[in-house]
């Protein structure tokens, strides 16, 4: 097992990263996710696997960002905020593999004295983390504030934020959803991970979210929908979203994903929301997540 960061070095963020390369990076990130949660027998693999393709797209192709030296203010960089902080494994893996911190540090996930807390924290000064998240519903507000700071600073870059769909049950999300169009925060692209699952079961049964497109549109958002587990659909949608910026409205991308995507026995079920695989399940998962130049930490 390699301990080096060669994978990160060869996959530095670039607007020219091909879909084939993105798929390889995504497979490696998914390997990291299942290995991280297996190692500590805790964490959230389901949502992490489902959102891998989005985070890989953003960090390895879409965003202009400078992993080192890490700048908390992120001046003249695109920023990403993770509101559903429980999918920290995918966030940590993507940050490490895009060069924010050593890939080997993924081995410390959820362990004592680690910078990789169970939920993302700025408190431990992990490069790439700009806000603590985990208590749900707060990320859209934070991202909106950061987007307004960019406007005040005449900074032309974009703020991205990801929320879970179950998270939309929090009232604060709708406070922010009202605010951003009212204040014409048009340098903001928000994603909803619409996997239809939450801890107690399918979202439709726990708390029906209704017509999200109609809801956000009625609040004044430009709304796009896409498949969050297909780069051929996801990347053009993100490009379309970027094309809608600067027109007085924030942009919302409703992204259909499958929880546990990439590992067949984890897919589509809320049962893998916060459960780690056992040894046998890990081996099965890794077999399914083959990668040409595997560089497991």
């Amino acid at each position: 097992m390699s301990q080096d960061t060669s994978f990160a070095a060869s996959s530095a963020p670039s607007a020219t990263t091909s879909v084939a390369e993105l798929k390889q990076i995504a497979a490696q990130v998914r390997r990291d996710i299942v290995r991280m949660v297996h190692a500590v027998n805790s964490g959230h693999p389901g949502g992490s696997l489902g959102c891998t393709d989005l985070l890989v797209s953003l960090f390895f192709r879409v965003m202009q960002h400078t992993p080192q030296p890490f700048d908390m203010d992120g001046r003249n960089q695109d920023l990403f905020f993770l509101s559903n902080g429980h999918i920290s494994p995918v966030f940590y893996s993507v940050l490490a593999r895009s060069g924010y911190f050593p890939v080997s540090e993924l081995a410390t996930f959820r362990k004592l004295n680690s910078r990789l807390q169970g939920h993302p924290a700025t408190h431990e000064h992990l490069p790439g983390i700009r806000i603590a998240s985990g208590s749900l519903g707060q990320g859209l507000s934070v991202a909106t504030g950061a987007a307004q700071a960019k406007k005040l600073n005449h900074d032309p870059r974009t703020v991205f934020v990801l929320m879970g769909d179950g998270e939309l049950e929090e009232g604060q999300v709708w406070e922010a959803a009202m605010y951003a169009p009212h204040h014409k925060v048009d340098n903001l692209i928000a994603f909803v991970d619409r996997n239809g699952q939450q801890i107690d079961g399918p979202t439709d049964k726990v708390m029906h979210l209704g017509d999200l497109r109609a809801k956000f549109e009625s609040f004044g958002w430009r709304v796009l929908e896409t498949d969050g587990n297909d780069f051929e659909k996801l990347l053009p949608t993100i490009e379309e979203a970027q094309g809608l910026l600067g027109q007085g409205q924030p942009v919302m991308v409703l992204m259909d994903t499958q929880m546990g995507f990439g590992v067949d026995f984890m897919m589509g079920s809320h049962k893998w929301h916060g459960v780690a695989p056992n040894n046998e399940q890990l081996e099965m998962a890794l077999q399914q997540l083959a990668v040409e130049k595997a560089s497991d930490y």
Partner: protein, 318 residues
């Protein structure tokens, strides 16, 4: 007993408004947010002169705290404005995660704290906010006593890196501190030196403590009166120096006993110098409607209550 002449009475919230307006002129990074209470928070002048740096949030305090945290990313220094109740209890989790735990440089500015909000009653009269805020790691908690001090505190917290809770009030009270006094976070101010009892007061109760000092002087009691405008970090050195001299302590605040200034001083004394202590504070009760003066009398937060506490604590002194 020293005299504290004053020529005008003003509300502490107007001191905040004046300080914020001055910051607008002097510090381009200062931005302000308000949850539909511009007039109540006296933010009108800032809104008028710096509209591009003001964000009307509407009645959505949770969003306001998240926005403020986000605005720090990019170097802004956000000042949030709403009533103390909605600045703390309503948004505790947002402050805890997005501001305190995240170490964001947000200034939570809270008006209408305590009973002196008056007629609106207990729903709006928060008496737990100091406790809520001081429990958060690394949160600075400040409760100035008059207009001048609130203005000075507003200017000072902009220079301080880290989250701050600044608490002030609605009623007009004597404005007696020097207009040119610099505000040092965490440094108490000795208003009157005395040898018989230490009175540590914060916020509106500082003026009541001065009035109590006069009444005590008539009885031959020489009280040391100290303005602890900063509850956290507590000026432990000053508190202990005074307490070791007088050997008995009274605290006075417009807050619950649980979690307030008195609670902080009781902890300090118990650890360092166990001495008799009496607290002038609300004793495990909500407030109610009434005029500020009526409420301060009924809930025993006035000079008469301080005098009674002094007599009681001096009787306990060994």
């Amino acid at each position: 007993m020293k005299d504290f002449p004053y020529t005008e009475s003003k509300d502490t919230r107007s001191g905040f408004g004046a300080g914020l307006h001055e910051l607008g002129k002097t510090n381009p990074n200062v931005v302000a947010l308000c949850a539909d209470l511009i007039g109540s928070l006296k933010m009108d002048a800032f809104v008028k002169d710096f509209p591009e740096r003001f964000f009307q949030v509407g009645i959505a305090e949770a969003n306001m705290m998240g926005l403020a945290a986000g605005l720090t990313i990019g170097g802004k220094i956000p000042f949030t404005g709403t009533f103390a109740n909605f600045s703390t209890g309503r948004v505790y989790d947002q402050i805890r995660q997005s501001i305190a735990y995240s170490g964001k440089n947000v200034k939570i500015c809270a008006s209408h704290a305590g009973l002196t909000l008056g007629e609106d009653g207990a729903t709006h009269q928060i008496l737990e906010d100091i406790g809520l805020m001081k429990m958060l790691p690394h949160m600075t908690v400040i409760n100035p006593c008059d207009y001048n001090q609130t203005k000075a505190a507003t200017l000072a917290i902009a220079e301080h890196e880290g989250p701050v809770y600044l608490r002030f009030g609605r009623p007009v009270v004597p404005n007696f501190t020097p207009a040119d006094q610099t505000f040092e976070i965490g440094k108490g101010i000795v208003l009157n030196e005395g040898a018989d009892v230490s009175i540590f007061a914060t916020g509106h109760l500082v003026w009541k403590a001065i009035q109590a000092g006069k009444l005590l002087a008539e009885k031959g009691i020489n009280a040391e009166i100290i303005n602890l405008h900063t509850i956290k970090p507590l000026d432990a050195q000053l508190v202990l120096e005074s307490a070791r001299k007088t050997r008995c302590v009274v605290t006075a605040e417009e807050h619950q006993m649980n979690g307030g200034l008195g609670d902080s001083i009781a902890q300090l004394l118990a650890r360092e110098e166990p001495l008799p202590l009496e607290m002038v504070a609300v004793n495990d009760s909500f407030g109610e409607s009434g005029t500020p003066d009526q409420l301060m009398e009924k809930y025993e937060l006035n000079e008469a209550a301080i005098v009674r506490a002094v007599e009681k604590v001096m009787a306990r002194r060994k």
